[in-house]
Amino acid sequence: MSRSHRIAGGQIDRTSTIRFSFDGLPYTGHPGDTLASALLANGVRLMGRSFKYHRPRGPLSAGSEEPNALVQLRTGARQEPNSRATVAELFDGLTATSQNAWPSLRLDAMALNDRLSTFFAAGFYYKTFMWPAAFWEKVYEPMIRRAAGLGRLTREEDPDSYDKGFLHCDLLVIGAGPAGLMAALTAGRAGARVILADEDFRMGGRLNSERFEIGGQPGADWAAGAVAELAQLPTVRLMSRTTVIGAFDHGIYGAVERVSDHLPEPPPGKPRQTLWRIYSRRAILAGGATERPIAFENNDRPGIMLAGSLRAYANRWAVAAGDRVAIFTNNEDGLRTATDLHAKGVDVVAVIDARADGPLLPGIRHLRGAEVIDTRGRLGLTSITIRQANGRTETLRASALGVSGGWNPNVNISSHHRARPVWDEAILSFVPGKAGPPGLSAAGAAAGRLSTHGALASGQTEALAALADLGRASRAQPLPEAEDAPVSITPKWYVAGGKGRAWIDPQNDVTVKDVKLAHQENFTSVEHLKRYTTLGMATDQGKTGNVLGLAIMAGLTGRTIPETGTTIYRPPYTPVAMGTLAGRSRGKEFKPTRLTPSHAWAEEQGAVFVEVGQWLRTQWIPRPGETHWRESVDREVLATRRSVGICDVTTLGKIDIQGTDAGAFLDRVYANTFSTLPVGKCRYGLMLREDGIVFDDGTTARLGEHEYVMTTTTANAVAVFRHLEFCRQVLWPGMDVQLISTTEAWAQFSVAGPNARRLLERIVDQDISDAAFPYLAAGNITVGGLRARLFRISFSGELAYEIAVPARYGDALIRRLVEEGRTFDAVVYGTEALGVMRVEKGHVAGNELNGQSTALNMGLGKMVSRKKDSIGMVLSGREGMMDPGGYRLVGVKPVAPDGKLTAGSHFLDIGAAAVMENDGGWLTSKVYSPHLGSDIALGYLKAGDRRIGERMRAVNLLAGTDTEVEIVSPHFFDPEGERLRG
């Protein structure tokens, strides 16, 4: 292990020691460390390998913009690839491993790619894997995919949970540096509801990394004082470890709070992360700025980092990233690093300043008009070669090099609504444009105000403006004293003249040569440049490299940088785990369930349930000895037809429709007429869409002069209710109609079969003889004095009723029906038996209500009344929909009784080839009918109503079936309807 690189000072807790490992080797750090700072303190600079060339890499930055120091954090199911060591908070027992290297980080076989770099220039894939064409899918793509990516997933299920939540505030302040803190103080002191969110675990932003003073005290201390004051303000919420990832519509911001990432594992019940949706009336982007490098030959070695980051490691984390440090800068800020390191006793071997003029730093070798032209060091920087203003070159021994090419305001979130940032020549950077998200303004370095005073002042100004917008009067307060140095920068994007590679985007191994090649091949648009070279892609989204690449392309094309433009910024600002987006919606918690009133009883019987939307419905109930579902379903069907069966139909949508215009309203939404329905009767109804296609069907009963209850299919319960509300509120607001869903309120059971009446007579208090309660009667009854409803309707073709009681009594009712039904050998049947019986009876259901079929297709054309206007009536009469040769619902049975049918089979004439031109239609629903002793089906057949009795083939090429069938009436069972009227 190398010697410690700790120096004095810093914001780490040296009284406590944290043990962690990297690539299996043990190290120690302190609370307050990141993984990167702790590794640097232990003398570890090599932390990763680059994506394409497998070049050795160390951290470039000290923050979330990091492109290089990507590691796998933790092990087992919690292992997370591509984690930035620069923001990974150290905790005791942390395990990190390097990625994208084999067999080891120091000796990576894939580094051979670096030797072959000539062949791996931009567009390599596009040019190389062109032929033979058949190889692309089977050979090239799998091979490239295997080589792609950095870290690896374990494929184990994530053991952690993730929360979602909602927050509301007057002002969201994004970033807790000097501008953000001052904005939050200004708004918080005025009583506004403020949320201050910062991605760091310690608020203060750059103040934690600088030696600036504010108001006569160290900037970090001022920040800590500001945070302490904010914590006392009742309307302010402080959210550290929280990254605002995007601006969405209507003042909504997404934010990820890393609740437990700084712990070995989340405490019981606690989430790992929470995705907050923040509703903010105003927002201030105070996200600071990101330093950018200068491109020069071999500028990617471990030990070469951004000058501001080198300074941050020294000032905040008390780490000297090297024992001999050099600085390469084109601006004044770079000099601060030299000064700070020098003050901390670090050997600053030289400052290579691209600017020709200006005062020299005292006590430090400060070379004006100079540049770095090359570096050396296989696994870490050992020396740099510089060219002085007079042209003389010199090699200096150095283990760390800080590079500063200027600072890019973090404009990302201000551009999330496609607002283009604008170029600020004074700081040679883009600043937020004016067409950003409404209600969002920028302050501090994010707005291009790069001095501490500028940050404090703009933070206060923007907060006052937001308060004024919100109608809160507040005055500017005197600002604490702070440095206000002007920006002194000279354009220096890359060092020209070298033959080697100079990196722009180290994560994607994009070099100056790649940009030149893109230009040479006419990929000069920024969008083309990005996709041709991969500049700005992957986890860092080009935070350090984008502007550099644009500037170089601008130079090549002779355009200005603003003319060259930028690519579009999109959320998220930093990578977000998929689990965070999913929240609790996974596994059995993917969606809520809806349980029927008979669910508990059915569970006791060992019922098999099926998901129908959110409902869990009984599919069938096996009895001892039954080994196949068909045995159960056949038994349930036969028992129902023989005596009586009971089925929970609570899931059908029920909509209460009242008002003096309720009947007229139903006439308009149904294709058939309901205003003439007598009180105490029900009727089957067909509902069309505007385009004449069938939307839904069901039975509607008239319970009073102005009171109806509509039944919908289970699947369309919500859609029909929404449709009716639209009709009521938007189409016909003048009608006196009130709607409300009562689906949940009533437990409803179908009682069907020859003994249905006899069974119900034991349950209900009223006379329900055929004379008293005839077919299609409906009304209020009582069950043991309890209010209830009875409908005489049938979906099975049997004598059948639906009985409803308030849902709390549903469990008792199913138990009583079963108990009383023992006399009749009653059976409780599920959705499978229900399906069999409806196909036997020729009733349409979901498979036939497929969103493409008309009433005429279903054989229900006569239900569309032409005597009144209704939704879909006119368009259902279009020529193409009235085609006599169009699809018609038919019944299908195999010619051979043991012939097999498969749903989805297509009708073909006997002897016809199985091609589209010969397609006659398809089988929509297939069941085995125990009553008929064979497979039967419903289907749509062209001119089917004229082909009854013909023989055809039902062909399913996917299932490999080809069955000779007879086209029959869809009414397989009791076509005259004698049983249901019995």
Binding site: F166, G269, P592, L595, Q738, E744, P806
Partner: protein, 186 residues
């Protein structure tokens, strides 16, 4: 006449449950009768006259407590009326008699599961459950909202007390969501 049927709570028990998670107390309520009333078109005066002194008609996003009837606003010209189940089980019939043909009345008692939440500060729990700005709204606030994809009504009785009505069939899922969020806050 047949025997009367026994009732079960929305969670499938004979008696309502109470859960305690840290500072949070979740109380299932099974003793409330519920009905919707909607003013029929053009009958505002008759509707208001019938309601006067009997059924409060709070403004949008509001609720009002009363005896025996309390109510909360659910949609334009529509309210849900609450009353003790023991004395007002047939609440819909009562309200039909009261309002006559000036209102459309529908029984809603068993359409909903009700959970009352108690804690000194409910905001950390509710901000994980729904998009209601709980600390900001006043006592009596009532709103439709979503809890883990479940459509609910939320009523702020006071700072430390909230009523959540969710669909009866999803009672178990709703309680699970509340319990999970409560554990997450601790």
């Amino acid at each position: 006449m047949a025997d009367r049927l026994n009732a079960l709570t929305s969670l499938g028990h004979s008696d309502p449950v109470t859960r305690e998670i840290g500072p949070y107390r979740i109380v299932e309520r099974f003793d409330i009768a519920l009905a919707s009333i909607a003013c029929r078109r053009g009958r505002d005066k008759d509707f208001s006259k019938a309601a006067k002194g009997m059924v409060p008609l709070p403004d949008p996003a509001g609720s009002t407590q009363g005896a025996p009837y309390s109510s909360f606003w659910v949609a334009p010209d529509m309210w849900f009326v609450e009353a003790p189940f023991a004395t007002n089980e047939d609440i819909a019939e009562e309200l039909k008699r009261l309002f006559g043909d000036s209102a459309s009345v529908t029984e809603q008692t068993d359409g909903w599961a009700r959970f009352d939440l108690f804690a000194p500060d409910l905001a950390p729990l509710l901000e994980r459950l729904c998009n209601v700005d709980f600390p900001h709204v006043e006592d009596g606030f009532a709103s439709r909202t979503l809890v883990e994809h479940i459509g609910c009504y939320l009523i702020r009785r006071r700072q430390g007390e909230v009523t959540l009505y969710g669909p009866r069939s999803s009672a178990k899922s709703l309680l699970h969501a509340i319990e999970t969020a409560a554990a997450s806050v601790l």
